[in-house]
């Protein structure tokens, strides 16, 4: 029986080529998105899972007393002490990092170097490609295969030397590459290129005391004998609150918490000072699933609509089958098996299409590395079987039930036809329109957001700004003096903190209450150069280069709103530790970091010269590249053994703009596909409706109806549905776009009326064009034939 069904299905599909093409394409693309989403979910939840003892490894995190926020750092000595004293702990290990100048021959590079305990690779599995780990050897260095290629090209680096801290004469250390490890996978929270022993980490010119309670490491891990002991171990860790707080008055710990290694990446965004890789944002995971489901739903609705529309041709067959002894159940099974055949064909297409789609996705999102393989991936095969069955039922059940349900007597009488105006058909079409409108609104909103971010008022003049960073004041001053000789350089300023690059987060006392804000220490020329404007007060009364603005600070508008309660703050006092500062003025809000981070209250203090680390350079926007090139040339001439650390200020927004552009492009493609599917579904329904009304429309024409009246007659059943769908689509699109933007950015353009209007107009235009094509066919139809047809 099944083979008979399939034979019939093949022949039937061959006869309806355009129907097959539209649905296989629609469902194929939707299923490809489903596979991509599934693969991304697997990737998102695969972070750190491959370590053999992953279930038994926990990160120690710390709640800070002052703000009750969870921090990723932990006191340097905590894990070691705990491993010695708390039963049930097998091992402890730590990881810390800093930027280090690494030199080979005449080549110098700024690199992030990670410092670990010697048992680090006993707990975590990062395969070695060459050499040995030798982390207990203080002179040994492990490098990644990327770094091996960067520094040594095709040669084996094992046994060769690299100089660390090359820019600091006293601390310079020659280390031997003992091994090369495979690049850390992108689904690893621990990302590193250089690995060496903790004792090689310096503070100033001395090794850091990792047995101190004062120093915090990037991350501390404990390996438990039994993961079920985690609550008991966490409780026992609280005994180390007291020694930590006694040793560090400025950073009081409230509580320690254990985070299981496999859960770390997904929760990383809730952790301040995480220092490790954040994993994939949950919003990206759920956003993709939503997109895939919307696409699949639209494709299924389209499939159902087009199946019903060609179902008129199958009515006689259904009637005959019933009188030959076929039950409705058997007929439904037959129609469902035909739907299944379309879905399987679509799945085959989706399985092929997803390959280039994945490559595009990986290229778009640099932190993601998705691989789709089938034969060695049974869970994916189960997923594909499940999603195909689900799609077959979703797309095929209603048409199967609908088409197989008619009484044969009515069919054989010959006058029976079903149209596209039933409640369910209208509901399906309304759902398609609403989904496509929501997709279009999301696409336009993200496109608009990217445009707004490009033109956003950052609170400072970012155009024509360049900078260079160095920790050495003498170097900074030398470079500053040299670059000022370039006639294209309009101004320079030195500063400790720089908008978009760094700041300090600090606590202070305000009217007897503990408060927290960002703390910007800048040079006296910095704010004028950056175009930061004073909106109230007079600014710093006097600035001495040696001591800075001493007892005066400026605050931003957000400080006035959030901390000052919108009351006048000028003249009020802030107390940092034991020092009190007078607020001398209010500066306009400026973007302290990037749109991914929230606007925060800011305190600006004029720092003493000794703290300066940045030289900021202003030029005309058209001279940016030339000045940047001159900065690099000047730097290399002055400091041949120091890597150039210059940057464009536009880099601050680059990532946000790239993310916005990528999302906008993805959503616009997605909206386009959905809109195409909706248009084809709409065309099917309108055609079906036109077929049903063929005679009455022809009669109306004979009686003198104009094309507008014919159009109204043809579509009147859908007007309310479309109106409702527009409302739902606008609401849904706005909701989706805002949810996605809120989860990605802290500063964004939101959903503006313009995006909604353009979305509605686009969808309406597409629908009008679709209906117009059908209307044209009706108006051109031979009236004689039409009146004969019934």
């Amino acid at each position: 029986m099944l083979s008979s069904y399939l034979t019939l299905a093949f022949r039937n599909l061959r006869r309806n080529g355009s129907y097959l093409l539209i649905n296989v394409l629609g469902l194929g693309i939707a299923l490809a998105f489903c596979i991509l989403s599934y693969t991304q979910v697997r990737f998102a939840y695969s972070f750190d899972q491959w370590h053999p003892a992953a279930e038994r490894i926990f990160r120690v995190e710390t709640f800070k007393t002052s703000n009750h926020l969870l921090h990723g750092t932990c006191p340097a000595s905590l894990t070691e002490v705990a491993a010695r004293e708390i039963p049930g702990l097998e091992a402890a290990t730590r990881i810390d990092s800093r930027g280090v100048v690494v030199k080979l021959g005449e080549n110098v590079f700024n690199q992030q170097v990670h410092f670990v305990d010697e048992n680090f690779l006993d707990l975590f599995q990062f395969p070695l490609l060459q050499g040995q780990a030798r982390l207990s050897d203080r002179d040994a260095l492990l490098i990644s295969e990327d770094m091996a290629h960067k520094f040594f090209g095709g040669e084996s680096p094992v046994g060769k030397t690299l100089t660390l801290y090359a820019d600091l004469e006293a601390q310079r250390k020659t280390m031997t590459v003992s091994g090369v490890f495979k690049n850390t996978p992108k689904n690893s929270s621990l990302q590193f290129q250089f690995l060496t022993h903790l004792e090689n980490q310096l503070e100033g010119d001395k090794p850091i005391r990792y047995d101190s309670w004062k120093w915090f490491v990037d991350a501390g891990f404990l390996k438990l004998s039994n993961p079920a002991d985690a609550p008991a171990v966490e409780a026992a860790l609280q005994q180390y609150i007291a020694p930590q707080n006694a040793a560090n008055q400025n950073w009081q710990a409230e509580r320690y918490r254990l985070e299981a290694l496999p859960a770390m990446a997904m929760n990383a965004r809730d952790v301040r000072w995480n220092n490790l890789s954040n994993g994939i944002p949950p919003s990206a995971v759920w956003g993709n699933i939503t997109v895939a489901l919307m696409l699949l739903l639209t494709a299924c609705l389209n499939f159902a609509n087009t199946t019903i529309s060609i179902g008129n041709r199958r009515l006689r067959e259904m009637g005959v089958r019933k009188v030959m002894g076929g039950t409705q159940r058997q007929l439904m099974f037959q129609l469902l098996s035909e739907a299944g055949l379309v879905c399987v064909t679509a799945l085959a297409l989706g399985m092929i299409v997803v390959k280039p789609m994945t490559e595009w996705y990986n290229a778009t999102w640099k932190h993601i590395d998705l691989h789709v393989s089938y034969l060695d991936n049974p869970p994916l095969l189960y997923f594909l079987a499940g999603v195909t069955l689900f799609t077959t039922l979703l797309a095929g059940a209603y048409p199967a039930f609908y088409i197989s349900g008619f009484n044969p007597s009515k069919i054989f009488r010959g006058a029976f036809k079903f149209g596209g105006a039933s409640f369910f058909s209208r509901l399906m079409m309304g759902a398609q329109v609403a989904i496509s409108l929501a997709a279009v609104v999301v696409g336009f909103s993200f496109a608009r957001n990217a445009q707004v971010q490009r033109e956003a008022d950052l609170g400072y003049a970012g155009d024509g700004i360049l900078g260079v960073e160095t920790q050495d004041l003498a170097l900074l001053n030398t470079f500053n003096a040299a670059i000022r000789q370039n006639p294209k350089v309009l101004e320079t300023a030195r500063t400790r903190h720089h908008a978009g690059f760094n700041f300090r987060q600090t606590e202070f006392s305000w009217q007897g209450q503990k408060q927290e804000s960002l703390w910007f220490e800048v040079g006296k020329d910095y704010m004028p150069l950056m175009g930061m404007t004073l909106v109230a007060g007079e600014g710093f009364s006097a600035v001495n280069e040696a001591v800075g603005s001493e007892m005066e600070v400026l605050v931003n508008e957000m400080f006035v709103r959030e901390i000052g309660g919108n009351a006048p703050v000028i003249g009020q006092m802030l107390k940092f530790d034991t020092v009190s500062y007078r607020i001398a003025g209010v500066v306009k809000d400026f973007m302290t970091d990037s749109p991914f981070d929230p606007k925060s209250p800011v305190v600006v203090h004029c720092a003493p010269e000794s703290k300066f680390t940045y030289c900021i350079v202003k030029t005309k926007p058209e001279d940016l590249a030339a000045v940047h090139a001159d900065m690099e040339t000047t730097w290399k001439a002055l400091f041949p053994y120091k890597p150039f650390t210059g940057f464009y200020q536009s880099e601050v927004m680059a990532e946000a703009l790239e993310v916005s552009d990528n999302i906008a492009m993805t959503m616009l493609i997605f909206a386009f596909v959905i809109l195409l599917l909706t248009v084809s579904g709409l065309f099917s329904i309108v055609s079906l409706n036109a077929l049903k009304q063929f005679k009455s429309l022809a009669l109306r024409r004979v009686l003198g109806a104009k094309s507008g009246e014919i159009a109204f007659q043809l579509n009147r059943n859908y007007l309310m549905v479309i109106f409702g769908a527009i409302l739902v689509g606008c609401w849904g699109g706005r909701f989706m776009a805002l949810a996605m933007m809120n989860s990605i950015y802290k500063i964004h353009a939101g959903v503006q009326g313009q995006s909604l209007t353009m979305g509605v107009l686009t969808v309406l235009l597409a629908m009008l064009a679709t209906v117009g094509v059908k209307l044209r066919q009706i108006l051109r139809a031979n009236l004689g034939d039409a009146l004969k047809a019934e």
Binding site: R316, R321, T327
Partner: protein, 227 residues
């Protein structure tokens, strides 16, 4: 075989009832060949649909092989189609996407007849109707008469006790119509199949042994045909 008692069929039109059949009483014995005649709108096709259980009377009783059809559920009705009733339609109603062979095979698939027996039964019928060479053709590749022969063969393949034919020659030329009617006659006489046909043709009606004349939904008279 068939007992109709005061069968009525009406369609509500607003608050009124439009009767298509009224007080129809009839008895059809096994092995009979009954023709139903009457002008357009007299209720012939509706009566045939009721006999074929495609439609239900709004009033009255219909007994088939001693069972009350008014008590049948969908499942029982489907069993009747599989075991006892074969249909022949004026418009043939072959399944366009199936070949002659596959059209004949379909009722047997629903009856779950084993494969070897299916092949044997189809081969017999193809041979009997001289259609062996046509078995792999699609309906669109056949003439009207050939399509109707396939339609008759399909009705017979399940070895029904009753064949209901709704103007089986309405779309055919006279020679083809005659050929089909001869087939019916043979089936009735040699195989003992009960046949009820609706026809406009006096000549075709006389192939049967009784004619029911319908007018305005009522059985106006019954006529016995002498051969």
């Amino acid at each position: 075989m068939i007992e109709l008692k005061n069968i009525e069929r009406y369609y509500p039109t607003g608050s009124l009832k439009t009767y298509v059949l009224r007080y129809v009483n009839a008895h059809i014995a096994e092995g009979e060949f009954v023709s139903i005649m009457g002008p357009s709108g007299s209720g012939k096709s509706t009566l045939l649909h009721i006999l074929g259980m495609l439609d239900e009377p709004t009033d009255g009783e219909f007994w088939f092989l001693g069972e009350g059809v008014h008590k049948f559920n969908e499942r029982r009705r489907t069993e009747m189609y599989r075991e006892y009733i074969g249909f022949v339609f004026q418009a043939y109603h072959l399944i366009d996407d199936l070949t002659v062979y596959e059209n004949l095979e379909t009722p047997l698939l629903y009856k779950k007849v084993p494969s070897t027996e299916r092949k044997s039964r189809i081969a017999d019928l193809l041979d009997r109707f001289n259609m062996v060479a046509k078995k792999d053709l699609f309906p669109s590749q056949l003439s009207g008469g050939q399509q109707q022969l396939v339609g008759v063969a399909r009705a017979l393949i399940g070895r029904p006790k009753l064949i209901l034919a709704d103007e089986p020659t309405g779309n055919l030329q006279s020679p083809q119509a005659k050929e089909i009617m001869e087939v019916f006659k043979t089936l009735n006489r040699e195989d003992g199949v009960t046949i009820v046909q609706v026809t406009h043709s006096e000549d075709n009606a006389k192939y049967g042994n009784r004619i029911l004349h319908l007018k305005d939904g009522r059985v106006e008279n019954e006529e016995l045909v002498k051969h």
